[in-house]
Symmetry: C2
Subunit: 352 residues, 2 copies
Amino acid sequence: MPEEVLAPSVAVTQKKSFLRAARGEHMRIPPVWLMRQAGRYLPEYLAVRADHDFISVCRTPDLACEVTMQPIRRFDFDAAILFSDILIPAIPLGCGLRFDSGHGPVIERPVRSRNEVDSLREFDPREELDDVLAAVKLIRRELPDDKALIGFAGAPFTLACYLIEGGKPDPFRNVKRMMYSDPEAFTKLLNKLADFTADYMLAMIDAGADAIQLFDTWGGILTVAEFRALNLPVLQRIVAALNHSVAPTTYFVLNGMHLASVAEIGADVYGLDWRMPIQSAKARFGTQASLQGNLDPVLLLTDETTIRRAARQIINDAEGAGFIFNLGHGILPDTPISSVDILLDEIRSSRA
Amino acid sequence: MPEEVLAPSVAVTQKKSFLRAARGEHMRIPPVWLMRQAGRYLPEYLAVRADHDFISVCRTPDLACEVTMQPIRRFDFDAAILFSDILIPAIPLGCGLRFDSGHGPVIERPVRSRNEVDSLREFDPREELDDVLAAVKLIRRELPDDKALIGFAGAPFTLACYLIEGGKPDPFRNVKRMMYSDPEAFTKLLNKLADFTADYMLAMIDAGADAIQLFDTWGGILTVAEFRALNLPVLQRIVAALNHSVAPTTYFVLNGMHLASVAEIGADVYGLDWRMPIQSAKARFGTQASLQGNLDPVLLLTDETTIRRAARQIINDAEGAGFIFNLGHGILPDTPISSVDILLDEIRSSRA
């Protein structure tokens, strides 16, 4: 980490750079963070996880703060993102959540009927997710003022997929069964999830988050018509609620190239997966919104020349846009540390 | 099955209907077959598999013929598709292939280096896949003249994904590593696969296949630029070779909504996954090509009203186009037989 990055004058620039890029301003050196930047590719993260299970790390403010800070210390990213999981709200909803090693999340009481939707607990995130909010406060204190802090949530459709299937949702049998056979119950579920999500994100902003990202990992399985009918209204509602705050909102949908309607959500930033050429994204979102993305995370498993060339291409393509550099999906567990160093060196190469 | 369907005058219509639709003619009742129509949702298929492993069924003409015929007998589909697997050619290529129950295909000697590409065996499909071709001949004899018979192969990129990863390819670590770090070796691999694929398909046509489908299950992981640079040229080459035959060619890519370039392949029919609205497909492919698809296979797990409504919508949207009804991906193993009956009844409802 070059020393001048820590000097106050430059330091302020990292957070400002992130927020200005999120508000549509093109920054010569794009701000950068990486999805899942706190995680299994870092030995210091694995050291924490050796003693603590995943949910405990999420729900213990000291631990969540520690793992959130790890990639900032190591890589000097421009933004930290709260270490948590989009499924944590399944716990106060009364669905039960555990992570079986190697098998991913398990929702202990899946939500498949209208009765099960009706019996989801209503809860106030400020009370029942106070541990997560305490983590946000703690991180905001620990994090240098010059860095942005991102809070996040799962988009309602994506949360619904996990709650209905009871874990990894692919191929979405029960989701689609409910969506088609009882669209009223399905819509009710999405609205219930949207209700607490807006509150939860506003509480994160109050706790110190500078920006919010909504992860819609599974939104791309929907057809255009389904997306418009079911997903768009609840997303618009959440984003409208957040637009009354000071924090910009990013919407990330995986595999959503067909969903031109995402541009109607009203988000400040659209996260792009690696399949969407930046040029297409510029055409889709125009100057209304900023873009974030979209290096294929698998590229970090290749060689230095490939990483530098691909990163440079993205930066060149983003010329003129409000743009935040990121990956097109989460960083892979077997990513070498040196690849992240190379990537950051390339992105910041004209900073020196 | 209504009796008149088997009467010769109507009978001839089923194959003709399929071939005319594949050549761009709009049929009032669209011809229909379903991807994976021979398979695990059929008790008679499970009965065969109880005594024979998957590869043996593929490589024993009597067994391949029997399971190919099963869905024709039960549902009177307009086309039969050879029972085989896109990975069978891995055997004469020298890579080794087995299917571990519950874990999918295993390529015993993955192809990850330039040397491994160079040492792939060259083979003549007419000699070393003669058992598959014998199955095609046998099926063509057993199948009523009124039905079309479809032969198929994996598209080179999709085959390469399996060969490189050694099995289920997601998340394509080694594929992309090779693609980016040694594009020359990667291109050589695709070309080697394209070489035998064209020969193999022409041999299937000689053996009695009336049409060919290329399955590009993984083509949609590519960016537009990658698709154009790597995949499009080999696909064009195969399709050009097949265009000299009498059999129409269908290209199916999963999750390829972003790949407008597929229209340049030159196929007669484009198979659509369930995400692509028929209206968008009409805009993309114009009157140059026919369309095939695209009911979401998960819909067959819902209720009668939902299945009928969705099928009717697709048929209405396809008005005016050369169109073959199919699913948007393979039929799911837990599909009720009754759902297929309902679907066919809806598609053919104005036949009576």
